[in-house]
């Protein structure tokens, strides 16, 4: 296909997309499809979401309050819950089951997202990749969430489809949360909560509920030792011995475990401490458990003192998110284990490699603008089987990486959001493993999103990626950028 024909095809496709978006925007809405919380409160998605699934200040407060309105929740509920025992049953406890409640109607929502991708031409030696692909990734998610009374809340989501860059193709989050457990101990409200099950860690910037079409690169970073054995040598040990680091942990994938945390002071301060399997959203692969902790502090910069203490700030044209700056720090520690069955390194016993991830984050909000970012350092102990003695392991250079991202968002209109994101991962071992041309992998992703309706979105994202090597049949190595455009539709109901 010639460039002219290709350009015409692309132009035709883009024109069709623009026309479709225009028609969708021009049509007069008669009804709004509404997910579970919208149905419960008979309110629009935009009450809690600035660009779903991203939450505004009210949505954050709603979530932290156990998926209930921060104040006077009962007066806003349009679907009363079903009581599983009258309130007087509390007095009969423990002679009776403690009374609870379930949502009045099944709190289920559905989400579909399907993307159109346009891929830059890549050398055939890197594998055939079609230039365009309609509605891939394709993800259908079922979400159920709500509260079981004043102190219990729950969330379950499952990606039914197998595709989706952010899709787990399985259970995403599935947890039960005890809100304000600290009340029992006489602590201030929301100082201590407890969450159990499978959940996204208290990440500095959520990936599960990101508005981006692709995940953050540093969140997908796993630590793999250099493949080349010649890189895995230390003084005095014979060459040709493999390094052992093979840590599958990815920061952005949900974990299974128990988390305690809190957000006292109206959520200005947050803290969390989680004990997890460390095997992402799979079964435990080792005996040890990992620990993750995070703290953050928000500095509320609203001038009006009364408005500063409200859930949303008062503005001349209506309530809006507080002007604020939040700083956070996080630390993840674990001890990976390999070769428990001796299949990898026969005779050498189990490999125990400690690792950690540490970093910081910030988030700045001002009116229609947001800027946030994360920086992370990863460190995995790397060992080599001690072939000299035939027993145990020796330390070699650790597998390390640094990475992070920064993203800016601007609401041109409440329904048009411009984005720009920069990702980077600096991984010497990935470089030695031939993943990139240089140690540092950079990605630039400008994008724009249109809220066609409060529950329907059309999004565009261009990705300018790092150079990747590919070896041709002649044996020479060339580099190419797997750039691409991702666009798609997304709707919830």
């Amino acid at each position: 296909m010639t460039d002219r024909v290709l350009n015409t095809s692309i132009a035709a496709i883009l024109t069709a997309v623009v026309v479709v978006v225009g028609l969708m925007l021009a049509s007069v809405p008669k009804t709004s499809a509404i997910p579970a919380f919208s149905r419960k409160y008979q309110t629009s998605c935009t009450t809690c979401h600035s660009d779903y699934p991203e939450l505004n200040d009210f949505g954050e407060a709603f979530k932290k309050n156990g998926f209930k309105f921060p104040k006077d929740d009962e007066s806003f509920v349009k679907e009363p819950p079903v009581l599983l025992g009258s309130k007087a049953q509390k007095e009969a406890f423990p002679g009776a089951v403690y009374p609870g409640e379930i949502p009045g109607s099944v709190p289920v929502a559905f989400r579909y997202s399907g993307n159109f991708t346009y891929n830059a031409k890549q050398p055939i030696a890197a594998g055939f990749l079609p230039r365009t692909d309609l509605f891939v990734p394709n993800t259908f998610t079922v979400i159920g969430a709500g509260s079981f009374g004043p102190t219990l809340s729950f969330w379950v989501d499952n990606d039914i489809s197998a595709d989706g860059a952010n899709a787990a193709a399985a259970l995403g989050d599935g947890y039960l949360k005890v809100n304000d457990l600290g009340h029992v101990l006489g602590l201030p409200k929301d100082t201590l909560n407890l969450r159990m099950g499978q959940f996204e860690l208290d990440l500095p910037i959520t990936q599960a509920r990101t508005i981006n079409l692709t995940p953050y690169d540093v969140y997908s970073q796993a630590s793999i030792a250099p493949v080349s054995n010649t890189a895995c040598v230390i003084a005095g040990s014979p060459g040709g011995t493999p390094c052992t680091t093979n840590n599958p942990l990815q920061f952005g994938i949900p974990q299974r475990g128990i988390e305690i945390g809190g957000y006292p002071n109206d959520g200005n301060f947050t803290w969390s401490l989680a004990f997890v399997n460390g095997s992402n959203n799979g079964d435990a692969l080792r005996n040890s458990k990992d620990v993750y902790m995070r703290v953050s502090q928000r500095f509320n910069l609203e001038r009006d003192p009364e408005s500063r203490n409200a859930v949303q700030a008062a503005g001349p044209t209506g309530p809006h998110d507080h002007t604020s700056l939040r700083f956070g720090a996080f630390y993840y520690y674990g001890r990976n284990a390999l070769n428990m069955d001796g299949s990898l390194f026969p005779g050498f016993g189990t490999v125990h490699e400690t690792f950690y991830r540490a970093g910081g984050d910030f988030r700045f909000k001002y009116r229609h603008f947001e800027l946030y970012g994360v920086g992370m350092y990863g460190h995995d102990q790397d060992l080599i089987p001690n072939t000299t003695t035939g027993l145990g392991y020796l330390r070699t250079s650790p597998v390390t990486f640094t990475g992070g991202f920064a993203q800016a968002e601007y609401w041109i209109h409440p329904w048009v959001i411009a984005l720009f994101r920069y990702d980077f991962v600096d991984s010497p071992t990935d470089f030695s493993n031939g993943i990139s041309r240089y140690n540092t992998r950079n990605r630039f992703s400008p994008g724009v999103q249109f809220l066609v309706r409060a529950n329907i979105k059309v999004a565009f994202e261009y990705q300018h990626r790092w150079e990747q090597p590919v070896t041709l049949g002649s044996g020479s190595t060339v580099f190419f950028r797997p750039n691409g455009v991702v666009s798609g539709i997304d709707y919830v109901f």
């Binding site: 629009s44 044209t317 209506g318 409440p414």
Partner: protein
């Protein structure tokens, strides 16, 4: 009793009777609005249009519209031109009130900003027309202020019934405003105590 004395007594009695009769015969326009192609006959404003050579002073009493449970209450009010409406926030969430136009005139758009629970903000409506009330935090909220030229107006109940009280005798033009229906016009002659009108609002 002489004739003169009797005549005076009769005249006085007649005057008193006529005065009482004049008071109890406060005229009103009653009626019912039926609809075609519209879901409900509720919240339709019915009002007497401009009366030539007749001007009315702006009322001193304020009208209150509340925001409670994320709803404008009442949802539709009719007010005489020049009336001040107090917008009260009874919710524990942030609200605001704004309108993008008055009867489609975007130059008359206005935003009242934000105020906390328990407080109210006044606004005097001096421009005739329908004012669509919105909240920019909760887009499902909507209400209307219908600003009319005379003090003779009402808003229909859920069955479409209305009563406009204290209407002087005379010939008038009755008009309707409906969120979903087209305006209607009908002549009405108020001569007796009650003038009964049947109106139809169509989509």
């Amino acid at each position: 009793m002489n004739l003169r004395g009797m005549a005076v007594k009769v005249a006085v009695a007649a005057s008193i009777t006529l005065a009482i009769a004049g008071t109890s015969w406060a005229n009103e326009i009653k009626g019912k609005v039926s609809v075609q192609g519209i879901k409900s006959a509720e919240n339709i404003a019915v009002y007497v249009d401009v009366i030539p050579d007749k001007k009315f002073d702006a009322p001193k009493d304020h009208v209150v519209i509340d925001q409670r449970k994320m709803t404008f209450i009442p949802r539709v009010v009719a007010v005489q031109q020049g009336t001040t409406v107090d917008f009260l926030n009874s919710d524990a969430v942030g609200h605001n009130v704004y309108w993008p136009s008055i009867s489609g005139n975007k130059k008359l758009a206005h935003n009242l900003g934000t105020w906390p629970k328990g407080e109210k903000k006044p606004f005097q409506f001096n421009d005739l027309g329908s004012v669509p009330l919105l909240c920019n935090v909760h887009p499902e909220m909507s209400g209307y202020v219908v600003v009319v030229p005379t003090p003779y107006f009402a808003v229909t109940d859920k069955d479409g019934n209305f009563e406009i009280k204290d209407v002087p005798a005379g010939k008038y033009t009755l008009k309707t405003w409906s969120e979903d229906g087209k305006p209607t016009t009908q002549a009405v002659h108020v001569s007796g105590a009650t003038a009964t009108v049947e109106l139809t609002v169509k989509k």
